[in-house]
Structures are given as C-alpha cells and as structure tokens.
C-alpha cells in the first residue's frame, strides 16, 4: 500500500508474559521519541501498543506462552508504522472483535475496548488474522510534534 522508504527500524520479540507489557510500551515510546512527538502523542503510542500486546497475552496465547513480535518502522515522512504480530489462536471474526465492548473474556474484567483504543489513538489500524495461525496488527501514526507556546 504505502511504499515509503524506511528511515529507521526496530524489532523486539517478547514472550507473552504480562510482566512484559510495560517493557513493550517503554520500548515503543523510546524508539518513537526520536521524532520529537508531543507528550500526549507518545502516550497514545504507549496505550495502543499496550492494547495490542495485551491482546496477544490474554487472547492469542490464552492458555500458553508464545512469542510477540513487535516491529516499528520510522518512515521517510516521519510517520511510524507499528506492527505487532503473534502466532496464536487467531480471531474468528475480526469485524466483531473490533466492535466496542465486544470481548471473549468477560470473566477477566476485560472492557472489550482494546481495538477501539488502537483505532482512536492511532491514525490507521489494520488487523489480519487466521484461526490457528495468528494475528497481525498494523498501526500508523504521524506526529504533529510538541506544543510550542
């Protein structure tokens, strides 16, 4: 779709342990900092990454531990492309999953707002999945930069 050149790239692989959620957020935020985003924009990135990573832990690898693959690209127009991929159980109905308040884990006090947060806090969200094979979440954001007063 977008054939923009890549100015910088990072890859991180983490096991789907909840204790790694903070690390994934911090790594994404640290890497995106080079574009000098506003604090609120960085907070949006951390939140969106947290949601995607949490989905891998809670849903993709529900009763097991698997690998979460995070790949962040900084593109030539200074936007970021964040890809979070798993090889977990997959989502049978992505359309339903992306509906606000829809959750397949009601007992775990899940709000069902994960995809809604990603969609709202990022400029673009793409979700592809195959049952038994895994899910890939790709999000894009272009920073407006710091508030200069």
């Amino acid at each position: 779709m977008n054939k923009k050149n890549i100015k910088n790239e990072m890859k991180l692989t983490l096991p789907s342990l909840s204790v790694n959620e903070g690390m994934a957020r911090a790594a994404a935020a640290a890497f995106c900092s080079q574009l000098d985003p506003a604090a609120s924009e960085l907070a949006d990135i951390k939140c969106a990454v947290s949601e995607a990573v949490t989905n891998c832990i809670v849903h993709a690898y529900r009763d097991t531990v698997g690998q979460i693959y995070m790949n962040i690209k900084i593109l030539e127009d200074n936007s970021v492309r964040i890809e979070i991929k798993d090889r977990g159980c997959g989502i049978p109905d992505v359309g339903a999953a992306r509906q606000p308040l829809y959750t397949t884990d009601p007992g775990g006090e899940r709000s069902g707002m994960g995809f809604t947060v990603m969609e709202s806090f990022m400029d673009k969200l793409r979700v592809t999945s195959r049952c038994g094979r895994g899910t890939t979440v790709i999000m894009y954001k272009k920073f407006c930069g710091r508030d200069n007063t």
Partner: protein, 115 residues
C-alpha cells in the same frame, strides 16, 4: 493513608473508602489491584468508594475494566463509585468509553475555589 501491598493506598472514614492508585494500570497490574481493592471493600463495606486516580501515569483499557468491576461490586452492595481527579491519560481513556455517563467524576480543583 494506609499503604497496601497491592500497589495502592487507602483510608476509611464516615462510610467512605478512599483508594489512591499510583503508577501504571495495565493488564499486569490490574489483577493485583482488583483483589487488593476488593479486599478492603469487603473489610470496610463502605457506602462510597472514591478512586483517586490523580497519580496514575499510565492507563489502558484494562483500567476501564478495573473501574467498571469495582462499580459493579459497589452497586451489588448498594454503594457508589466516584473517580476523583483522573490524570489526563485516565480521563482520555474514560471518555473514549463514555464512562462518565455511568461513573461520577469529581475534580477537587474545581470544587475548591479558594486555591
């Protein structure tokens, strides 16, 4: 305020249980916060639970689940939940979910006109 091992502080007075959560609320920390806060709710059986979220520096939708879960629990006991001074990130996520239609939010800054 009493410091709980589960990552929050609390105090109880006049049927009000005030719980102050600091740091990050995500899926990882929510489990401990949930059982810890429920523990003090069952200990004191307050009529009102005040969740002070002023010192929260990160919250994702797991925090929404935490707040709603405490709301359900307090409702079962005939009580109410109020979120006090939500940090900007907390407020943003709550607004996304339209949570203010269900949960009262109080900002002490607005209530205090002398300062």
């Amino acid at each position: 305020m009493i410091k709980s091992k589960s990552g929050f502080e609390y105090e109880y007075y006049d049927d009000v249980l005030r719980v102050k959560v600091g740091g990050e609320i995500d899926h990882h920390s929510a489990a401990g916060l949930r059982s810890g806060i429920d523990g003090v709710i069952f200990e004191f059986r307050p009529k009102r639970l005040e969740l002070d979220l002023s010192s929260v520096n990160f919250m994702d939708s797991s925090g929404l689940g935490l707040i709603m879960g405490r709301y359900s629990l307090m409702r079962e006991q005939g009580g109410e939940v109020v979120v006090v001074d939500p940090a900007p990130m907390v407020e943003k996520v709550m607004n996304l979910a339209g949570m203010k239609r269900i949960i009262n939010v109080v900002k002490t800054e607005e209530a205090d006109e002398d300062e």
